[in-house]
């Protein structure tokens, strides 16, 4: 399993990487952690003529807080996210999600930006980003633009990124103190993608749902927001009965394709179950 021949480029700065991307256009692919792209190249599903490795660009790494935003460099790895004191304190949902991605070796290499930009609905960060109301900084020839996660995911392997753009940063508004959260993921074994998963952020006020965001992994061509389920919960006490109704509404937006993880009916049912578990855990955790 050897990829087709290609030329390898290791730019050390973002302008150099953008220049290479402009120069080679459709022929080029960006290499982040390489744990989606290299396997695809080994299977010859992807056959780029030029590989532009972003691994040497220091400004694409790192996690910090700026005012009310958490700023995560696109080339930050999953293990760096898991070990970040700042994220453990300010955004434990992201840590909980990253801990459920693949296996330890993959998490040393896999990056948050690669996971998002790949546009694979089986990846976990896309739904986490929808639940956290994140946005993405994209740099292209014409400068930088910031695109919200809502609307970024267009189809399988298709995002709002233009071919000449590089994702540089993930921006997450710091969730309010006391927000409940959970990423509930069903997978058959370590390293597998989710059969279904649900990401939830829940704000309670006086025992009622002030705000809630629910997003689902791998039950459609893109990650899915369960907006009707969210609307049902808002303003109400999140008791078991309404959580069950919300899960049914979440199931109604699912359109999974059948594969070795199960048929569409099973995956839809599991998305409902993951929604129930994520909402129940988030309710326990909410102050």
């Amino acid at each position: 399993m050897i990829p087709r021949p290609f030329e390898y480029h290791a730019p050390q700065t973002l302008p150099d990487a953008l220049g290479l991307l402009r120069q080679f256009g459709d022929e080029a692919k960006l290499l982040a952690g390489g744990h989606s792209l290299l396997p695809m190249m080994k299977l010859r599903f992807a056959q780029p003529g030029h590989l532009i490795d972003l691994g040497g660009i220091a400004e694409l790494k790192g996690i910090r807080q700026d005012g009310n935003s958490l700023l995560i460099g696109a080339m930050t790895t999953e293990n760096e996210i898991i070990w970040s004191q700042l994220l453990q304190t300010k955004c434990p949902l992201l840590v909980e999600g990253a801990r459920q991605i693949s296996d330890p070796q993959v998490r040393y290499k896999g990056t948050i930006g690669g996971d998002i930009a790949h546009g694979d609905p089986g990846n976990d960060h896309p739904a986490l980003m929808l639940a956290l109301a994140a946005s993405f900084a994209l740099r292209g020839a014409g400068g930088e633009r910031v695109v919200p996660a809502d609307g970024f995911f267009i189809g399988t392997y298709e995002t709002a990124m233009k071919p000449d753009e590089i994702m540089t940063q993930v921006r997450i508004p710091v969730p309010a103190q006391g927000a409940g959260y959970c990423y509930a993921k069903l997978k058959r074994k370590t390293g597998d993608f989710a059969a279904a998963a649900a990401a939830v952020v829940l704000h309670l006020k006086g025992g009622r749902v002030q705000e809630v965001r629910i997003a689902l992994t791998n039950v459609g061509p893109t990650p899915l927001r369960a907006t009707e389920a969210e609307a049902l919960l808002r303003g109400n006490r999140p008791d078991d009965a309404i959580i069950l109704q919300a899960a049914r509404l979440a199931m109604s937006v699912c359109a999974p394709s059948a594969d070795q993880r199960g048929d569409a009916e099973y995956k839809t049912a599991m998305a409902g179950e993951m929604t129930i578990r994520a909402l129940t855990t988030a309710r326990q955790r909410a102050a």
Partner: protein, 162 residues
């Protein structure tokens, strides 16, 4: 065919230089060009962990890393563990605790456990199972592998305290 590239890195403390096509995977360079056949090819699809090596203080699956990505890197393989004929604590524990049967997964297991103990010198059983989950063993049922990592952890921390 794409032009070959010269790549220099440290392998088990020694400088090595290789000339590779950009598409060459690290596992092939190690095994075929540098005669380091300790890291094994199990699945070649980044699932099994038999090809695990330590690259710049990270455990990685060398079937999913390009050799050209290793310019200037420090690579450690199982061949670098024993020092002057003395087994590393992990090798000794895997032997004494019967943590292997066929041995195919063992170089990857030990290399991964090495990095785990560097990061967490005294892991619980749960932590060992979670942080070793990228290495598959089809013989042992993992029980003795967990025990071996625990006894190596004890040996290494008492050696560090001495």
């Amino acid at each position: 065919m794409a032009k070959k590239q010269a790549v220099s890195f440290k392998l088990n403390g020694k400088d090595v230089d290789v000339v590779v096509e950009p598409r060459e995977l690290l596992i092939h360079t190690l095994r075929e060009k540098l005669q380091h056949t300790g890291p094994h090819i199990g699945c070649e699809t980044s699932h099994c962990g038999a090809c695990t090596v330590d690259l710049n203080a990270m455990s990685v699956k060398s079937c999913t890393v390009l050799t050209v990505q290793c310019e200037g890197a420090c690579v450690l393989t199982i061949e670098g563990f024993a020092q002057s004929g003395e087994l590393h604590a992990l090798q000794e524990s895997f032997h004494l605790d019967h943590a292997l049967q066929c041995g195919y997964c063992t170089p990857g297991m030990i290399t991964r456990a090495y990095r785990l103990l560097k990061e967490n010198p005294n892991p619980t059983e749960e932590e060992i199972r979670y942080w070793m989950a990228g290495n598959l063993c089809r013989c042992t049922g993992y029980q003795n592998i967990v025990k071996a990592v625990q006894s190596a952890a004890r040996k290494l921390s008492s050696a560090a305290a001495a």
